[in-house]
Amino acid sequence: MVEEIGTTSEGDLIINVGPQHPATHGVLHLVITLNGETIKKVEPHLGYIHRSIEKMCESLTYRQFIYVTSRMDYLSAHINNHGCALCVEKGLQVEIPARAQVIRVLMDELTRIASHELWWGAMAMDLGAFTPFFHAFRERETINDIMEETCGARLTMNYMVPGGVMQDLHPMFQKRVKDFLVLYKRKIHEYDELLTGNIIFQNRMKGVGMLDPADAISYGCTGPTARGSGVRCDVRKFAPYEVYDKLDFEEVTEQGCDSFARYMVRIREMQQSVRIIEQLIDNIPSGDFQAKTKAVLKLPKGEFYQQVETARGELGIYIVSEGGTTPYRIKFRSPGFSNLSVLDHIARGSKLGDLVAMMGTLDLVIPDIDR
């Protein structure tokens, strides 16, 4: 075991960042080996928020286990629940009503915008810019109000159930979303004015945290982290679920490979989500919002895998069923874990001050990494 405070035999300084540190957004513990101001090694220590969600799910039925997954990546709770519901539906082989599919995609995209908004504000705050946080939360608050009205909760909604969604859309939903889109388009230029064009911000982001496309693939990075290096990996494009294959949106990639490219991917992705919502909001088909399913769900014996694109990357849900009412084993492939593992690689050789910028653009959500 490395002595955690002190110096190594070569005279390098070892410092701890976290587990309680404002820039880690959660209980992430980094043990950093420093030579002067240059980072030689970054060791993430996990386990501070491990709740053994995978093990817990083994004792819950197929209806019950979905709510726990909201607590993994709590910023894209809808998308986690969506993936689990899809995986169970794959086993049950039920047909989802068209209305439920569109509602799910709408909720997913609203969640994606809300998640990227929070990331934008929090990352700017890490870099010392305090104002963007409030601007981001103003738009996010509107989405949270929409969620509160339709799903009954602001963060851990538990709205997706096997067979569809739990409740029908609120009568005011369409109007609220349209109001939000108007507000969002009226305010989006502020983001560029406040932060994207800012010279201090650009100098701190450009050329920092270089991640080659080959390394991004070999470390298993997904989502905006990999797309910032030009790797095309959007699950919505290469393995479309629900109605994504009928929608017109582009997969955002940037070629910069640095922190600024990852930043731009997320900013542009929000606009693509707005595009998807605009296509769907006036075309919600009528009909049932939930397919008829049995009161007690039993999956046939076998293995089921479903991948969805969360705001942070590819989330995989793998269920092994023995034919009973509870899963035999569940494995979640969380995007945050792979994205964190690349931190050591991109941080080596750079300065300590840049570490926060790199961690910010990896968009780490610690409960998702630790589960």
């Binding site: 819950l60 019950q64 009954g152 851990t156 004015e193 406040l194 010279i199 201090i200």
Partner: protein, 158 residues
């Protein structure tokens, strides 16, 4: 050339900072654009949507009757063991034994507001209330008995 580039760079930097500062000053002078809510002060006017999941309650009508049959569907649906249904046997006027609830114990401290019990209930006996200020001084107050004392089941609910 180096000097010109340097001056250009400085000009660009100052301009970008001024752009951001202008946005901040805009909100400094446009108070109507600010949407901050003053929470504890606006308590009287605060309206939560009717679907908001605050806590599980059991509605009673004016005759102190509820709709719960004691089928334990909510207890089985709950992922955390939040609800405990304690049943008893009532003797009807005809002398028949009939199952009814004695107590429906609800542990607010365990509840995650997942709404699964409400979905599972076949007779709409429980619903979500919009309360959210749940802080109490003693944790025993978080364990609630949902049916009123002396209440009985509504006529016609099976």
């Amino acid at each position: 050339m180096f000097v010109i580039d340097y001056i250009k760079e400085v000009w660009r930097a100052v301009k970008s900072l001024a752009t951001g500062m202008r946005r901040t000053l805009f909100y400094f002078t446009h108070h109507r654009e600010i949407i901050t809510q003053q929470y504890p002060e606006n308590r009287d006017t605060l309206n939560l949507p009717e679907r908001f999941k605050g806590e599980v309650v059991m509605p009673h009508d004016e005759k102190n009757e509820h709709r719960c049959t004691g089928c334990t569907a909510c207890e089985l649906a709950c992922p955390n063991g939040t609800i405990k249904v304690i049943t008893k046997f009532d003797i009807s006027p005809e002398g028949k034994k009939k199952k009814a609830i004695d107590k429906l114990v609800y542990h607010l401290e365990l509840c995650t507001m997942c709404n699964l019990c409400i979905e599972a209930c076949p007779s709409d006996a429980i619903k979500m209330a919009q309360t959210f200020e749940h802080s109490v001084f003693d944790r025993n107050q978080l364990t609630k008995i949902l049916n009123n004392p002396g209440s009985k089941i509504m006529e016609g609910v099976e």
